[in-house]
Amino acid sequence: MDLWAWVNDLERRLRKEGHARLADLIDRIPTEVCNDRHDRVDAMVPEALALARSLELPWLELFLRHWWLQSRVLHRMDATALGDAVGLLEFAHRDETRACPQSVCAVQDLASCYGFVDGPGFADDRLEVSREALARIDPSWPCFTCISSEQASAMRDQGRFAEALSFVDAQIARLAEHGEPDAIFDFPRDRVEAFIELGRLDEALSFIDTCERRGRNDAHHRVSRRLDRARVLARLGRCDDAKAQLPAADEIAETPLFYWFWADAAAALVARSALDNDASLGRVLHGFVERLARQGVGRTTLELAELHGRLALERGAPHVARRALAAMERARDVLRRPLDALDRIARLRAAIDAHPAAPVPASSIGEVLATVRSGGGRDPERDLLLLEAARARFPESTPVLLAYAGCAAVMELHDEARTALEDHHRRTADDDVAIRLAELSLGRDEVAVRRVADAHRALAKHDASRAIADWILARDAHARGHFAECRARLDRVLAARPEAVRARVLWADAARRLGDLPGALERLDEVVSRVPEGGGWDWDRMLVATQLGDFARVRDSARRLGFELEGEGPIDEPWGICRVRFDPVDAEDERGGPLEVWAARTGPVTARVIEIARPPHPLRYGDLVAFEATPLNAPPAAGEDAQRHVWVYPWVATLRQGDYRAFEIDGVHPGDEQMKALETALSELGCELQVMSGDEYFVRDGVRDGELPGVFAVVAIPRERGLREVHDLLKRTTSGLPHPLTWIDLAREAGDSDAAAAHLRARDDYGL
């Protein structure tokens, strides 16, 4: 049975029955898999599966689960999908699914998954499974190709390259007899691998070129061909050509199947001095090894780690090689049959041991840290080497440990950093180390944070140190938005460490968010009385004091920060333009209007909204708002005009509402003088007119053909002002104009329905 004919039929039927969404997904999922866009596959499959299950379409469920495994196993090399592959095999052999043409493919998914765990170790089983499956089907089955490919892969894993090639070619011949003359292009991987291993590089190259012209053209195959070309060309010594073909490592990051091929090409280029063997190459390979190891891949991880270690040694980084060796040892435990793994591990270990000893570390801690700092992080491998040596020499030094942990994190050695911190913490119960450890998980992993806090409380030698546990938990509670809990924990911190500054600042922040402004101000006053220099707490203090109307304190903190605010009472300075952003969640009732508005900054933490929102959006014009002084946007980039840069601040509170209503005015521009007069007249009624259009706004000439300069404006009217009064004023001021201005809504709400009707007619005449 033709699988794709069934899929197409099903798609059509689903569309007809109104399940267009599911039909779309069926259409797109295999395409996205073939183009290595696995994030999209992951986005679509759960929905498609849920739909297929709810419609009780087991064949479709099988199809979808198979394609998900294609993505996860065959492209992403995720051997942890083994359980799902086993589950699919079972599902594919139930009564309701056995007849589905995709059911045989479940065998391939499972066999490949084992192949990725340990290719050679499971080669016999994979061969048997493939033979068994091939005996049941003929070339008309779509899985004939895949299962043949699996068999060839198993043969190569046994080192039988020539045999694998002739087997594949025989299968291609069978497919040709069956009317598939182009089947050769369905086995690019099998043929290229065999050619490379057999040293038939020219054949490999010409085959890849033919595939380029006539083979599959999806992104996966295109990238695959570039990698293969790079490998072959590098081996042929055509290094420039090879480099031109080799994709950047991050281009293949989401397709771990390609890792080995990329590393193979890179190693061949390094061997011919065409590629730098440096720390950045090391970092790429480390990333590859880690990801594969995490995904339960055994054999390939082992071999990739070996390559990584060998290259590290070549560039004089035995400490990196040692880590690669450890990765090999871990990978060995995954293997079913170690075969030569132990020899490989022993060889790398011997090479590392034979390597000259690490440089003698600097004589003092200060010197080590200064050397590392002076490098500016340009060579993290060197830094790591220095810091490792320094740690051996100064095992109890916390600054060395913290520098080391930072460097390890840069090199993506996160587990190592954590372990080192934990070890050190267990021995020393150092407060800074505990905080650093907790920071790895703050707001992300409550369990881990709690573990650190518990450990610290148990290990700490005195109350002040034990309070660090509460400090950690308080920060975590703050990050999770539990401000009451945060404040309660900080009370304990402050009881044990009455002079703590940061705890007070955080306490004040939590209090402010809980609405306890006087409490917050009191704490901030305490901070200010203890710390002579101005700091972030002064900004916090100005915000809270502003909200409380305590302008003396605002001025005091401003002075501490180095600027003087003249006078007394409310602050109203001309501090330029900014934007204020409302939080859609905090300002739940504000939803529906623009989230960011233009405002005139009137002081350190206050601004008056000057943007009149177009009706029907909520009008904030004239509102006096308080904001947090840490801007939301980045400072102007180098080369950007700093004068034109506008800061965006997060809204905190509306101190006073403007209380206006807004209406649109639209029509033919009456001339600057008239507009000015209108503006003045309106301002006498306390209204604000804002012209939103510019010189290039044209409207249709309602009388003759052609265009006239237009004007579009918004007028904000104080709520206490009668609308009729404003309407009459507009009418008076514009009565002599040759072309009308219109204010339909205002006229209507002012109760002048005749005028409103006239404005409506004008709108049509002038195309407003």
Partner: protein, 618 residues
Amino acid sequence: MAAPPASNEHAVSDPIEVRTTQVDLSGLMTVLGEHLYSTPTVAIRELVQNAHDSCVRRKMEAGEGFEAKIVVRADATARTLTVEDTGAGLTHDEIVQYLATVGAGYTRKLREQTGSDDLIGLFGLGFLSAFVIGERISVSTTSYQEPDRGWHYQSKTGERYTLEAAPPRAVGTVVELVLKEKFQRLADPEVLRGVLRRYCAILHVPVFAGDDETAVNAERPPWRDDADRNPLRARKIRLDFAARFERRFSPICTFDVPAPDHAADVRGLLWVQDGATFGTSDNRNLSVFVRGMLLDDDARELLPPWAGFAGGVIESDRLTPTASREDLQRDDQWAKAARALQEALIHGLDAVARREPEAWRRVLLRHNEALLGAALCDQRLFELLADDLTVPTSEGDLPVRAILRRSDRKVYVSLSTRGGFEEMLFRALKVPIAVGTRYAVLPFLERYADRRGAQVVQLGTHAGNQQVFREATVEPDERAFLERALSRPGQRLVTARFQPVELPLVLVPDREVELKKRLEGDEADKRIATAALGLARLYTKKVDDTVVADLYVNLDSPAIAALLSARGDDARSETGARLLRALVALMSGGGDGAPGVDLSETLAEYTAAVCALLDARR
């Protein structure tokens, strides 16, 4: 400027020549008519295009001193269609060499010589398309090179034609088709006007339908309007233009192509649709004009697949049509154009988010789901959208921040389609649970958690359960007591602390054990081939089947605390334990299917416990 080969070899000694086109056309006509072109209206486009190229040629070769213009007329009674232009016209030799030789258009030659992008034709097939819809074709022409001579060409099939001298006319060409009967509707002036509006909307040379005073392409496309108009006005012009092309929805907002500060060989306008259809999320549509002529009105593939809500019109002189000229070749230029459109969309969405809050709100409202997927495809989009989008949860659609605020910076996600213990837990937890089976939800949340510092807890997975039920240890004798009191054969007791405290126990079945049972049963041998089954059993062999379910006991629950405190009192503790065991069973779907649970036994225990309680009171 290169001139066409001017030969007078065929000087007009004979009043009428009868010649044969240099190719066997009988088969070609069928191919053209039935296969190459999807619709007969394409023939009209081809003829207008010839007229256009002729005007361009005259401008290139003879200068600007004439008014370029194309008039297309239809006469329903006579069943004729005429295309008249003020272009270069043709000499006798040019008719022989170019008009009547298949695949040898003059345009291609001229373009190759001059590198001009203004010419449209490429394949030299355009004129032949007239024979697809016409049963008799005549051409009257006077070349600018010989303004005092005229020529009249006539043919019925394209294979044989007559060519005779005629009185000179104004420089230019008029092609008249007597339509085949089955294409009669093309002679309807209204149909014709519609066709011209579609195909020629942005053509540079004015095209008139019949005696219309205004050209069908009088309105310039907004991107060719260089005047920097007022933004309000510019927005309106663009929306109006978009509305002409978007047939199903009105546009919410538009984006210019290329994005500001982006160089690209493609220009045009994209928009977001104000609406979505039920069921499908892909309503992309894109009209592509090449050298001013509509080539493909279904080039959706040029738009990124995540933009199911986008429509657009673009023009490019670098895209290459296929021979049918109804589709585009997927070459490097195509890929570049696709990239330019993607950039324009991303920049455009960003600009709308900043400058058109009301439009942005509508975009979010209409296309939240599609945008969840889009956010995964581009980091910039993710940053733009992460806090504005909502995800479906057990309590309706919520922004992720709102979920995090409710649940300790964690997002609980359920991937289960059926009930199960997860569902019960959701209700008990009283926090919103994200619906992971909806499009893009889980990967979106994972990315959000990764970038913004939060935690995704997948309910029903091993890792997720560890997060929900935080294991906690008790004294060994307490543990032994709890095991005796609460767990049943096959259940592993796990002491833990979890929310809500009102929930004393949760039973979580081990799905791997279920799989093991099915694969290791005899039935599997009958169904699954030996070697494959062997491989599968390698896996299930490692699954411990002595435990079919984990029973999580909540140490924070007052009920469990009470049970522990009643440890010395067998009668009291047994009554409590019975009630708790019954609670587990009943919550696990009434006992059926819950591992280690028997419904009738459960009910008997429950009854006994209630009786014991009431007896004790008495």
